[in-house]
Symmetry: none
Subunit: 414 residues, 2 copies
């Protein structure tokens, strides 16, 4: 079963609004085995809508249209759909009472333009909108299902989950596309591809889809079966083998983050963590507290941005800064060790680097970052070389630091 998505609205085309509806719909449909052929964002214009309906109905078994159902004048989708399917608009009493309640609850008068929202085509099944005023509409033509939903994201989501998906599952006995992802960190896309080249070839011979999905510091690997859940075991086996190929880079599944994994490990050990940061200015702390419940193990940080505070607060030897610089193995190790004591934590991460855009030298170009981890009985440190962009460097340093703690907690640094 192939679907197309049509999102209607000039605000999408001029970039005033990012189209998040398509991502939601695409995700929900593909989870249920419906393949998304194309997403089309078009103007709020009768001809554009008619042309796109023709094209999408020809190409797909299911067309989901969002947007263009509001009460204001620039929304013409409902009338266009009614004409397209050869019907006429009639007043729907259930929708009308919903509207009347909506305005009564808010102590606001109901205007004529609002009343018009209760007009629905007589050639569709009306999908009741529990979260707003514009109903959804379900049409069928030449074996293709066309569903029109409001563009307000939470109204669209409510209708998708409560009305559209249950009807699709019931009426279409869906075959399932099945996919699963794992995540890696500490290795770039192309190095990863080189290590797993043989594995990848076999995956492709078995007609599974493989996608590399990189984001700063991470590469997600997704395997997709177009047969369905029947391939679950095949995919699980491939992932088991993959993990054995990259045991230290692999860190978790689709919904994990490096910091959520570290959080679980710290909780299990009843251990605490803190950070001492310079160039990252709290980026490592931010990465750690992104995980809900981090207050159980994250105590706090010192951001020693100036040389003075590096010396005064965490006790970095001024001679080290003078001779080796603040971006050095020795400095960052003293930051981690001093911070561990000052913050009273079991593990202390420290980072000092040149985030850019200025401040690079020949032997320490922009993107040079030293990261250290102090623990009971010692300290570990490593030099990283990132790129030229400040914000990305902060992100990459933060993920690398949290990953250093992950590897320590898993015994991979010993």
């Amino acid at each position: 079963m192939i679907a197309e998505i049509i999102t209607i609205g000039d605000e999408l085309l001029i970039g005033q609004t990012v189209d998040t509806n398509s991502a939601f719909i695409g995700h929900e449909l593909s989870l249920r085995g419906i393949r998304i052929g194309k997403i089309n964002s078009i103007q709020d214009d009768e001809n554009a809508i008619l042309e796109q309906l023709d094209a999408s109905i020809q190409a797909a078994d299911l067309v989901i249209v969002t947007g263009g159902l509001g009460p204001t004048k620039d929304d013409i989708t409902k009338q266009t759909l009614t004409n397209y399917f050869g019907g006429k608009l009639i007043m729907d009493q259930a929708v009308l009472s919903n509207l009347e309640n909506y305005f009564a609850e808010r102590n606001r008068p109901m205007l004529e333009v609002n009343r018009n929202q209760a007009l629905v085509p007589d050639c569709c099944e009306v999908l009741f909108n529990h979260k707003g005023t514009a109903p959804g509409m379900w049409f069928e033509k030449n074996n293709t299902i066309i569903v029109s939903l409001p563009g307000v994201p939470y109204e669209m989501k409510g209708l998708m989950l409560e009305s559209v998906l249950p009807r699709l599952i019931e009426r279409k006995q869906l075959k399932g596309i099945y996919h699963r992802s794992i995540q890696t960190t500490g290795i770039g896309e192309s190095f990863l591809a080189e290590i797993i080249a043989d594995w990848e070839n076999r995956v492709r011979e078995d007609k599974l889809g493989l996608a590399y999905l990189p984001s700063p510091g991470l590469v997600k690997l997704r395997l997709t079966s177009y047969v369905g859940i029947e391939d679950k075991e095949l995919i699980d086996n491939y992932f088991e083998e993959l993990i054995s190929l990259i045991p230290t880079y692999y860190f978790g599944g689709e919904d994990d983050t490096v910091s959520s994994i570290v959080g679980e490990l710290l909780l299990a050990k009843k251990a605490t963590v803190g950070t001492v940061e310079s160039c990252t200015a709290g980026g490592i702390a931010t990465e750690i507290v992104k995980t809900s419940g981090a207050s159980a193990y994250f105590e706090g940080s010192v951001l020693t941005y100036s040389y003075r505070l590096k010396e005064e607060l965490v006790g970095v030897d001024p001679n080290i800064i003078k001779t080796l610089g603040a971006v050095s193995k020795e400095c960052v190790e003293q930051m981690a060790l001093g911070g561990r004591k000052m913050l009273g934590v079991d593990y202390c991460l420290a980072a000092s680097g040149i985030a850019g855009p200025e401040g690079g030298t020949e032997d320490k170009p922009v993107g040079t970052v030293w990261i250290a981890l102090a623990f009971e009985g010692g300290v570990y440190s490593k030099r990283f070389q990132f790129g030229k962009l400040r914000e990305i460097n902060t992100l990459l340093s933060s993920v690398a630091a949290v990953n250093m703690l992950r590897m320590k907690l898993l015994g991979m640094l010993d």
Copy 2:
């Protein structure tokens, strides 16, 4: 001039990635008077790409394609484009040296798959990518311009701003839109609109475009003339009047940030700043150091995430936390005062709040944030009520804190 956008990638169709590239491109093109006819998100598949190219080239004068240019095997856009335009792939020496530098700087070996990124079609103009490894490509066919850009947002943005838009402006003599923006903080869009309603009416009577461009904590106001630079004086006069209507909310022009303005003011006073943070976990520090050269006035921070560190490091009275809670005027004022001493700075900002998603109570719902500023001779504090989303609350708190310092430095808090 009509443009279409094609974004390529299965991850867009299955909703793993939200297509933010189209919004950026749509915004930049429409600012320059190019109308966006349609946005098409399609599969990473040769036939899908070919079909879409045919359709878009027929419908538009300009086609911007993003995505599908990475080094791994699932990216086939470059080969497909080369075939489509009847060329062949050749090694580009400039791109190759860029690649070699990129890997040398990072001390990483360059692999064969990376080398392939320097292969470019011999039937296009190569657009050099300063932020990454995959170059952009500029093709022309039947009077239509087709540009292919990498899908990584910051690489795509760099190429759009540095290469694509300047070429379009030069070659297509685009209509001379002139615009200027000012920025406000500390006031929401609708309140702002209410204050400046009369001004706005006159602006519109003068056929100028007015846009409210909100981002977390800020509202940018843009005036656009569709006549061109001839309207510069008219727009300047309108802005002068606008600033007198909202003297405390206005903080600067298009390229300013609240923290760059604060940086200038601190430099002028030769004063220093530090922060004591809890829920924001370094967000205020991050906001301050976003400004290049911040090390001249930013000393550092303490992130007292736990109660223990609030008491031990900056000397918050444990009784205050016990009786009034860590999210209270008294606690945040003690954080600011204690931090000012501990960090040895002239100004110390402190924030303590409930960032969410959990932890709210009836009198302190999620989004409650207390912010304080300690200075020579005193402390100022204020309670803010933000929304339900953690990340946005951190951003809003950080901007509000830096803005509190801006107002203090400008004598607006007295």
